[in-house]
């Protein structure tokens, strides 16, 4: 709720365009957690919500470790993220990409 203050929220609540760092990945099932990790959704990686599907904005497509991954908001709620920068959907698409590479490599 008061995510702007805490800067910590669920991936499913992340507004489009905002970039964030993944803090923890804990899905409903252990198997789902492993699936997230195998797809590169893991702690320390940078994410950004790039697209939302029509009809209610669910599922979402997030950019993580250089790939675009589609998932539903509900499943994305098992992923805690720390918001890094408030930005509008279009302003810093490129810089966030670059940053994603730098951070995930360091």
């Amino acid at each position: 709720m008061n995510s702007e203050l805490k800067k910590t929220l669920k991936l499913g609540e992340l507004p489009r365009g905002a970039r964030a760092k993944i803090l923890s990945v804990r899905a409903v099932t252990e198997e789902m957690t492993r699936n997230f990790l195998e797809m590169g959704i893991l702690e320390g990686s940078l994410v950004r919500v790039v697209h939302q599907a029509p009809l209610g904005g669910d599922p979402i497509a997030v950019e993580v470790r250089g790939a675009l991954i589609a998932l539903r908001r509900q499943e994305a709620s098992g992923i805690d993220v720390e918001i890094l920068h408030e930005s509008s959907p279009h302003s810093r698409e490129h810089s966030s990409q670059q940053a994603s590479h730098e951070v995930s490599l360091s």
Binding site: R34, E43, A53, A61, L68, I69, A70, E75, H101, S104
Partner: protein, 642 residues
């Protein structure tokens, strides 16, 4: 594949989905490929042969793409089982080529870490290297090779670059491996293990990368349109409209050609044989039966061409993304969109393409509803009945009543699978909403060669099916409708054989009346009465069980209408219009929306679910639906007309 390759050492290609693995496989083996299924499952097994410069031959296996050996889908399980030597009759690979998308190392190397742990000689093919360079990647290949302890060969599969180097690296890796190939020791990794693997990937990449590659420019640009909340829907609609246009109008030219050729072959063969059982078996049973299915080859090829191109280009995953809300609303996976779409041509490719759905319950739900989609075999029946019974009056502008009725039939055939899926997910196949976790790959230009090879494989598989299952069913149906024969006094078909002339023999009962099919038709008449069908429709329904479209020619036989294709449709239409009520015709159309009139589909469901139980369930629920829907249609329309 040449026979000399038999017994040669086996190597395997493994990699993530969309890493260019199949392009590399095609580039390595050319047309020397053999496509079959793995025993017991319908996962495609693609093997090819490579002639090494020194004259030796290697067999290459193209394993299904996977993110990890911890498999989620039947395809991924095959990759794991082959690598662990768990597939019966499959030899363990002596070496692996890990195919990696060079534009996305931080994602791809995770699987390489896992493959490395197997202890099988491993060579890394750094594929799409040209693209990675263009996107600014600067990589120290030597350092990467040292850190990974694996030979690293840059390749560009689509241009055939780096292949000799790759093969010689594989050759050296096999020779350097002193210990014999043993079944690898593998444990399902836990979450910590996967995290550690990716940390190691990040460490290695930090050492080896001088400059990382920029994001895919065109993918971002295109997705702004294709995944746009409004434009995305419009684009998807346009793609689907084009596809239907292609399937239903462009295919008609080759279809007419095939029909003509089958008829000509029948006449040609018939010319050599005297009138009798053998001629009847060959011409009416084998040639007509197989021909009735071969006619669908152009439609199926066009459908597959579309699907292969859309899949190769990366668009199909986007379509699933856009449609997830609709599919998810009835409890299906977003990916179920593709099987349902394919089912408009034929339920069989549709059912086969459910293999990409991970959860067995989600997959089963999709398999069970796919046959409700209006496949193209229903079209000849609809065309006949709509043409005969619906007046062709103009509704508004270019829209006519016949077109509107046909549209209504398709609409029902679109809503029915969604409704039944919803019911199934609330009752028999209850369970949590299937999760969606799917990579949207970067857009690529589909390779002409890959699409052509894919089409060649599909048509071969389809022809083989036509030559086996459908051939035997056609013979069975021919037998049921030919024996026992009519008493000698009844005029046979020879009398009305003159090609082109369509004659109607009013006085006598057609020969089929005396056959087993006729007996069955009479026997089931009491059950069909409430639907408005008499024994003649009952008879036509029986051969129609082998394949829906056979119903049209069966009705022709029952109503003793003979002649060539055009005449048959017209004459039969006129005959039906004079002897059936509108209620009967509508009832039969509705019957065709729901009825499971396709033995091949049932056989495929049996094979895909590994049990007859679900095939019989499908048969049962679709028949019940068809019966109820036809019953209400007939009774209601009859009541209205009173």
């Amino acid at each position: 594949m040449t026979t000399s390759a038999w017994g040669s050492p086996l190597i395997a290609l493994a990699g993530l989905p969309n890493c260019g693995k199949t392009s590399l496989f095609n580039a390595l083996t050319g047309s020397r490929q053999k496509v079959a299924n793995y025993p017991g499952v319908t996962v495609e097994r693609k093997e090819g042969a490579i002639a090494l410069p020194e004259g030796r031959t290697l067999r290459v296996l193209d394993l299904p793409g996977t993110y990890s050996l911890d498999a989620r889908t039947p395809d991924e399980a095959i990759t794991r089982d082959v690598l662990l030597g768990r597939v019966r009759g499959e030899s363990l690979p002596v070496a692996l080529i890990a195919v990696v998308d060079a534009t996305n190392l931080e994602r791809n190397l995770g699987l390489v870490m896992e493959l490395r742990e197997l202890g099988v000689p491993l060579v890394l093919a750094l594929n799409m290297m040209d693209l990675a360079h263009r996107r600014g990647l600067e990589l120290d290949l030597q350092a990467l090779s040292q850190e990974l302890h694996v030979p690293v060969i840059p390749t560009v599969a689509v241009k055939g670059r780096g292949l000799p180097e790759l093969l010689s690296a594989v050759e050296s890796a096999i020779q350097a491996n002193a210990c014999p190939v043993a079944v690898p020791d593998w444990k399902k990794p836990d979450a910590e293990r996967i995290r550690a693997r990716f940390q190691e990937v990040d460490r290695i990449l930090k050492v080896c990368t001088k400059k990382s590659s920029a994001p895919a420019y065109w993918t971002e640009r295109l997705d702004r349109v294709f995944l746009h909340p409004v434009l995305g829907f419009i684009v998807l609609g346009a793609v689907l409209a084009l596809m239907f246009q292609a399937i239903f109008s462009w295919a008609s030219v080759p279809q007419d050609a095939i029909e003509g050729a089958v008829a000509a072959l029948g006449r040609w063969v018939g010319g050599f044989l005297a009138e009798g059982p053998l001629r009847s078996l060959l011409v009416d049973g084998v040639i007509a039966g197989v021909g009735s299915v071969l006619v669908f080859l152009p439609q199926i090829l066009i459908l597959y061409a579309f699907i292969l191109i859309l899949e190769d280009s990366g668009y199909l995953a986007r379509a699933a993304f856009i449609m997830d809300r609709v599919m998810g609303g009835v409890g299906l996976h977003g990916r179920a969109f593709i099987p349902l779409l394919s089912s408009y041509a034929c339920a069989i490719p549709g059912i086969l393409s459910t293999r990409t759905i991970a959860n067995p319950r989600d997959r089963l739900a999709t398999i069970l509803v796919a046959p409700l989609t209006t496949c193209s075999a229903r079209l000849p029946v609809y065309t006949l009945l709509v043409g005969a019974f619906v007046p062709n009056i103009t509704l508004w502008g270019p829209f006519r009543l016949q077109g509107a009725v046909l549209f209504g039939l398709y609409l029902l055939g679109t809503l029915a699978p969604l409704l039944v899926a919803w019911v199934l997910r609330k009752t028999l196949l209850r369970g949590p909403k299937p999760p969606l976790l799917m990579e949207l790959p970067t857009y690529k230009r589909p390779s002409v060669r890959g699409v052509l090879l894919g089409l060649w494989e599909r048509s071969r598989l389809f022809m083989r099916r036509a030559g086996t299952v459908i051939l035997s069913l056609s013979v069975l149906v021919w037998f049921l409708s030919s024996y026992p024969q009519a008493p000698a006094t009844v005029s046979g078909r020879a009398e009305v054989e003159e090609v082109g002339s369509a004659r109607v023999s009013e006085a006598q009962l057609p020969a089929i009346h005396y056959s087993y099919a006729g007996k069955i038709g009479h026997a089931i008449e009491p059950f069909l009465r409430p639907l408005g069908f008499d024994w003649r429709v009952g008879i036509a329904l029986i051969p129609g069980f082998a394949a829906r479209e056979v119903m049209v020619s069966a009705l022709g036989t029952v109503y003793a209408v003979e002649g060539d294709e055009e005449n048959l449709q017209q004459e039969l239409g006129a005959r039906l219009a004079s002897s059936w009520t509108l209620a009967t015709a509508l009832s039969l159309m509705v019957w065709y929306i729901f009825a499971p009139q396709c033995l091949s589909t049932l056989a495929v469901v049996r094979r895909e679910t590994n049990t007859w139980r679900w095939a019989f369930f499908l048969l049962g629920y679709m028949t019940a639906l068809a019966y109820l829907a036809s019953f209400f249609t007939y009774q209601w329309v009859s009541w209205l007309g009173r």
